[in-house]
């Protein structure tokens, strides 16, 4: 390996690492606020990317039907709840958000000339379809069992992952796809060529991380989520609704996932089931941070990306094995630093 190749691999590793970092942040956030180990995080990556692919091909994305279906279900559940508690006034809002929104979106998707829209608009539409699935998922799947043990929530997550992969196959087919890059530009940076898309990925990741930092540090909703993560009961006593915190968290997680998908779709071929492995690498990073620390998780993500890039050069057949084996020393270290027997939640 010469210096040139090393630089190329490093560039690759950092690009992927930036995506893993985003996913790791989402995973830590979801776990901290809701105790859900969010295995389907990766599915949002694939759904985001492949929805964009369908939009760019000029077809109405099949994920719209999932959104519509989930919306109708959520409306039914919420309407029943509102009627049972005699809050008829809430019905209009329930219907507008859960059913009205997907219907309006469907109309837009049918009327607009999808294939010829500007790229940012296409991306926006893809996000508008995929991201609301996050809060809907929380409402329908996790909220009814919010108090269940971590283990049950984890098994549910795996079930959701499995179901979403199956639906992904149904929606997108078995073929993989790529999208055209956001920018064709190439920069010469010292001895190496940097792709425009690489810059996009890294810049977008940094912007998103800073935005999240600001959100959690300054906004009232961000602080509410942090409070919930620190002490669920305490936050609840202070009037922070755990259901709202859950939905907001899942909104952020879905946004981070779908956006990651849109960002890497020009670099890697995305299949309906690609998201899982990508998400798992986010997990490896999150585990490095003990499912608790954001900065360590982000650093872990870059490490995972670099390890992956370099092992794909030296031992490409064992790339995945090497990356997933990374968690062994991490677990070992964590295991030696924990002492007391504690009850599982």
């Amino acid at each position: 390996m010469d210096f040139q190749i090393a630089l190329l691999l490093a560039q690759d590793g950092i690009t992927n690492g930036a995506i893993y970092a985003l996913l790791a942040l989402a995973l830590v956030l979801v776990f901290a606020v809701t105790r859900v180990i969010f295995i389907p995080q990766g599915e949002f990556v694939a759904y985001g990317a492949l929805t964009l692919v369908m939009i760019q091909a000029g077809t109405v994305p099949a994920t719209l039907w999932l959104l519509l279906g989930a919306g109708v279900l959520a409306a039914a559940v919420d309407a029943r709840g509102a009627l049972a508690s005699g809050q008829k006034g809430r019905l209009a809002g329930v219907l507008a958000w859960n059913v009205g929104y997907p219907v309006v979106l469907a109309a837009l998707l049918y009327l607009l000339p999808l294939a010829t829209l500007a790229l940012p608009l296409q991306v926006l539409l893809a996000l508008l379809v995929v991201v609301p699935m996050g809060p809907l998922m929380y409402r329908l799947i996790y909220q009814p069992v919010a108090a269940a043990p971590v283990l049950i929530l984890l098994i549910i997550s795996v079930a959701v992952h499995v179901g979403m992969v199956g639906l992904g196959l149904l929606f997108f087919g078995a073929e993989g796809s790529r999208t055209p890059p956001f920018s064709e530009a190439r920069f010469e940076l010292g001895p190496m060529m940097v792709n425009g898309q690489t810059i996009w990925v890294i810049a977008a990741s940094i912007v998103l991380i800073v935005a999240l930092y600001q959100f959690f540090g300054r906004s009232i909703y961000g602080k509410a989520l942090r409070a919930t993560a620190m002490n669920r009961n305490g936050a609840r006593l202070m009037g922070i609704s755990p259901a709202l915190a859950g939905r907001l968290t899942f909104l952020l997680a879905a946004l981070i996932g779908a956006l990651s998908g849109v960002l890497i779709a020009p670099i890697t071929t995305i299949y309906y089931d690609t998201g899982f492995l990508i998400g798992l690498k986010g997990f490896v990073a999150a585990i490095v941070g003990g499912l608790a620390s954001y900065p360590i998780a982000a650093a872990g993500a870059v490490l995972v990306g670099l390890l992956e890039a370099f092992s794909s050069f030296w031992a490409s057949a064992y790339k995945e094995v090497i990356v997933f084996t990374l968690i062994i020393p991490v677990l070992l270290w964590r295991s030696f630093t924990s002492h007391h027997v504690e009850e599982e939640e």
Binding site: L151, A159, G163, L170, T325, I327, S335
Partner: protein, 600 residues
């Protein structure tokens, strides 16, 4: 419906059906039953791990793969290395090697993750499941993605099981044996420790149970079941490739356990049956509906899992069991069993517990500040103080549930601070909890028997094969004796969760006594008791004191305390504000101020 059938007759009928099944059924259904048996064997391990132990693994398919590939390599390879040559060619030797190999891998994997909180194990198994799958697919010696062919059939006394209807009997014999041993295990000393893992770890440790070891035991057992299933699979199929050992299959195994009823041994069989048949049917039906081919049944399985976990977390077995009215077998005690040996108590008046300057800080909060106290054998010391004074924290420092920031705790003259509750329990200190910690679905008898855990030593293997019955009878007798002693005899076989709160507290005392302690720590034992019950409790404590036991109790009920105890230590804001005889303390101005508020 009135329960009319005995367990024996239902089981007998089931066995008879199994026996004739391959003779009368078409080969397709025999094959289906073979697979159900293989899957149920893996799911059974997960029932033990997930339903009973509260842990889980998505990597069971990888363990199945270890079993299958080990036997495939050993029985087909022509050039085994010299150190392994002895194991070549024979499926039975390969089974042995596979089991040892699997146990080793599971042990290493378990050591990495089992000391951490419960969700690290499943995450670790996901990573391990994926890694091993890729490894199977890439290693040249394992045939890559095409796999290995030409695996010989299993022979029993020279008779080769070449046909599906022949290996059928072997598969189901393995499964039934596994069900039998698992049931035995769960109904034993080790089994109670395993059943305490879900929701009772702190309690179990305080009763001397090594919970890390129990977790390891069930993880290794689950892996061994999976390995045996893989071995059978390899010799049924006669070839192996990586596909059936991938992560998605590992997830399917977990679904089987959960769908069937993760807490039920027979649920594994039900779950494996339901999922296998549903998969067969859906793989036929769905591609026709959707007009394209693919594994669409997973959408259905995913949804089914979510609904089951939301609505019926016990799975389908309880629903199924209602259809077959089986009489519950009644437990009996063997009154003839010899009583357990007792540890000699320290001489009356000897100092058995000495806490010196114990300080515990939680961040900026000083919950205990330089607390000192002593307890002598044959004495009752009360630790009292207003709410939030730090009494329960002090209890946790003494009993090893927590470690003091500074200071020293001497028990029987040896420093114990930071040694962990298990080690301290072994030395003869036993406790109850302020917030009752018992296993609500287990009977009162079994709950109390956990207390006697340290007084037995029969392990997993004797338990699985019923070679522990003599010791088990002695342990249960001891538990029964303590239950009678505290006055709960009429509730002996009731579920612990069905008792009133006051009785649950008394149950905890019986459990602590079953450990044969010389020092008893009681955290608010009289809370929730009626007057008569309090009198009875006081009587019991006096009697224990009379026998030479030291007792340290935290209590709010002053009438109860003042008439009973020998000395009192009063705490406020984490500090000791008074100590002395009950009458002295009652007159102490600092104590009066703490309880009644100062005069402005």
């Amino acid at each position: 419906m009135k329960p009319v059938l005995s367990v024996r007759s239902v089981l007998g009928l089931f066995l008879a059906l199994l026996l004739v099944a391959p003779l009368v059924m078409p080969p397709f259904y025999v094959t289906l039953l073979n697979y159900i048996g293989l899957y149920a064997l893996v799911a059974l391990g997960l029932v033990l791990l997930t339903g009973v132990g509260g842990l889980t693994s998505f990597g069971q398919a990888a363990f199945v793969g270890l079993g299958a590939y080990t036997t495939a390599v050993l029985t087909t390879a022509t050039d085994l290395p010299a150190w392994l040559a002895w194991a070549g060619g024979s499926p039975w030797l390969a089974l042995g090697v596979g089991l040892v190999f699997t146990a080793t891998v599971a042990f290493v994997l378990g050591s990495l993750t089992l000391r951490l909180s419960g969700h690290y194990l499943p995450l670790g198994t996901i990573a391990w499941g994926i890694s091993l799958y890729f490894l199977f697919g890439t290693l040249e010696t394992l045939g890559g993605h095409t796999g290995l062919t030409g695996i010989p059939p299993i022979a029993i006394f020279g008779f080769e099981l070449t046909d599906g209807s022949q290996i059928f009997y072997l598969i189901w014999a393995f499964l039934l044996l596994a069900v039998f041993t698992t049931q035995n295990l769960l109904d034993s000393r080790e089994g109670r420790a395993i059943r305490a893992l879900k929701g009772g770890m702190v309690m179990a440790e305080a009763m001397g149970v090594d919970t890390a070891r129990s977790r390891m035991v069930i993880f290794v057992i689950a892996a061994l079941h999976a390995c045996a299933s893989g071995w059978l699979y390899a010799h049924l199929q006669r070839f192996v490739n990586p596909t059936p050992f991938g992560l998605h299959i590992g997830i399917e195994y977990l679904f089987m356990a959960v769908v069937g009823g993760a807490g039920q041994v027979w649920g594994a069989l039900l779950g494996a049956g339901v999922i296998t048949i549903a998969k067969q049917w859906l793989q036929d039906l769905l591609p026709r509906i959707f007009g394209q081919s693919g594994n669409f049944e997973v959408i259905f399985f995913g949804l089914m899992m979510i609904v089951i976990l939301q609505r019926a977390r016990e799975g389908l077995w309880p629903l199924f069991a209602r259809l077959v009215p089986v009489k519950a077998t009644k437990r009996t005690l063997d009154a003839a069993a010899a009583p357990l040996p007792r540890k000699p108590l320290p001489a009356r008046g000897d100092v058995i517990l000495e806490a010196k300057e114990v300080t515990r800080k939680f961040g900026g909060l000083v919950a205990n500040n330089a607390m000192s106290l002593t307890v002598k054998a044959g004495e009752i010391l009360a630790l009292i103080g207003p709410n939030g004074a730090g009494k329960s924290t002090m209890f946790n420092q003494i009993s090893g549930v927590d470690t003091p920031t500074s200071g020293e705790v001497l028990f029987l003259g040896r420093p114990v601070a930071g040694r962990g509750s298990r080690a301290i329990a072994r030395m003869g200190m036993s406790r109850t909890f302020q917030h009752v910690k018992l296993l609500p679905t287990m009977s009162v008898l079994e709950n109390v028997a956990i207390g006697a855990h340290m007084r037995g030593d029969k392990g997993v293997f004797p338990a699985a094969w019923r070679m522990d019955r003599a010791e088990e009878a002695r342990l249960l007798n001891e538990a029964a004796r303590q239950i009678e002693r505290v006055g709960l005899a009429e509730h002996m076989f009731d579920a612990a969760g069905s008792l009133a709160l006051g009785q649950q507290r008394i149950l905890e005392i019986a459990r602590a006594l079953a450990a044969d302690p010389c020092l008893l720590l009681l955290d608010e034992p009289a809370a929730g008791l009626r007057f008569k019950e309090k009198q009875a409790l006081a009587e019991l404590l006096r009697k224990l004191r009379g026998e030479g036991m030291g007792i340290l109790l935290v209590e709010h009920d002053m009438d109860f305390v003042m008439g009973l105890v020998d000395r009192v230590v009063v705490m406020e804001f984490g500090q000791k504000i008074a100590e002395g005889l009950p009458e002295e303390v009652q007159q102490n101005p600092a104590v009066l101020e703490a309880y009644l508020g100062g005069v402005e």
